[in-house]
Amino acid sequence: MERNVFVSRRRIDGFDVLPSDSAEAHVLAVDDSLVDRKVIEQLLKISSFKVTAVDSGRRALQFLGLDEEKSSSVGFDGLKVDLIITDYCMPGMTGYELLKKIKESSNFREIPVVIMSSENVIARIDRCLEEGAEDFFVKPVKLSDVKRLKDYMMREVRFGTANSGGTNKRKLQESCDPTSSEPSISSLSSSSSDSPSRSPISPSSASSSIPTPLDSPVRRLKMTNTGGLI
């Protein structure tokens, strides 16, 4: 198969969940706020991701087929999830609790998880990163944040071909088939054009890509990260 597709296989209950035919990665977004769900959905769509947005950790687990109350099987639509982005503060199950459940699952622990929060609390950020989150976005989430998500997917792809280095928190699993024909990275970044600025006017500060301040904790962590997180 000579197509440029991002290939990733998952095993669920012994069944091979076949990769979807599309070159677009599929993101599961979790947020109890309807406004925020709408915004994150659009941010992801504009960045050429397929999106499923749910309003709670419970629903996210159900979608993945992880909910204990509903027996997990290949009963759901079988669409693989390539990344999960979740709000931290949610009633019922917090984003942190959802993160833990995913990392505890043998089937889903390799899915990268990103946390979003309106509170910029270092202890919270550290806790999430220690639990295995890829990144922590302080709300309001911007296009420049979402564009970073592609890096987490690409890292998954590289796991298949290079064994060492990188943030190797996770063991190599059959999630990335090393023999699959060159999963092309270009397919992930091709269609996302930098947002054509349709705004008629912007405030005095530059509207596009306001860089993360250097002293933001996540940026700091990423800059000092050489061989592995923590």
């Binding site: 309807l34 925020d36 915004v39 659009q42 769509k45 709300k139 008629p200 912007s202």
Partner: protein, 156 residues
Amino acid sequence: MLGLGADRLWADMNRLLALLFHQGVLDEQFVQLQQLQDESSPNFVCEVVTIYFHESEKLLKNLRGLLMEREFSDYKKMGIHLNQFMGSSSSIGAKRVRNVCVAFRAASEQNNRAGCLRALELLEHEYCYLKNKLHELFHIEQQRLLAAGVRYPMQN
């Protein structure tokens, strides 16, 4: 000339936006939303803002309901509403509304009922202003699209 009408409306829209940014009513997150609007989602900003209005009005009603209670004491519940309001306001770039929520939350954390009442009045006022201005903005945009559309007569 009809073309001039569209251009003038475009200028009106810019002027209103500039004013709102200058007043701190809106911040760059609003611009971010505008950048997410495209041909496949041509009404995105209006849709999100409409959802925001519905949610906000429910929250304001809840907040007022709580504070009007004779034996009000559930500051925790108030805090939850405020966090929601803060979050959604920040997500659409409603800076001044969000800032009032912050002050409101501080009063709530101190169990300061009088302070909360004052903050609620201010919040309702700011929200009202924001809503009016955004409606104005969308109205001008609608007019502009109509005016621009008439330049290209329908072919039968």
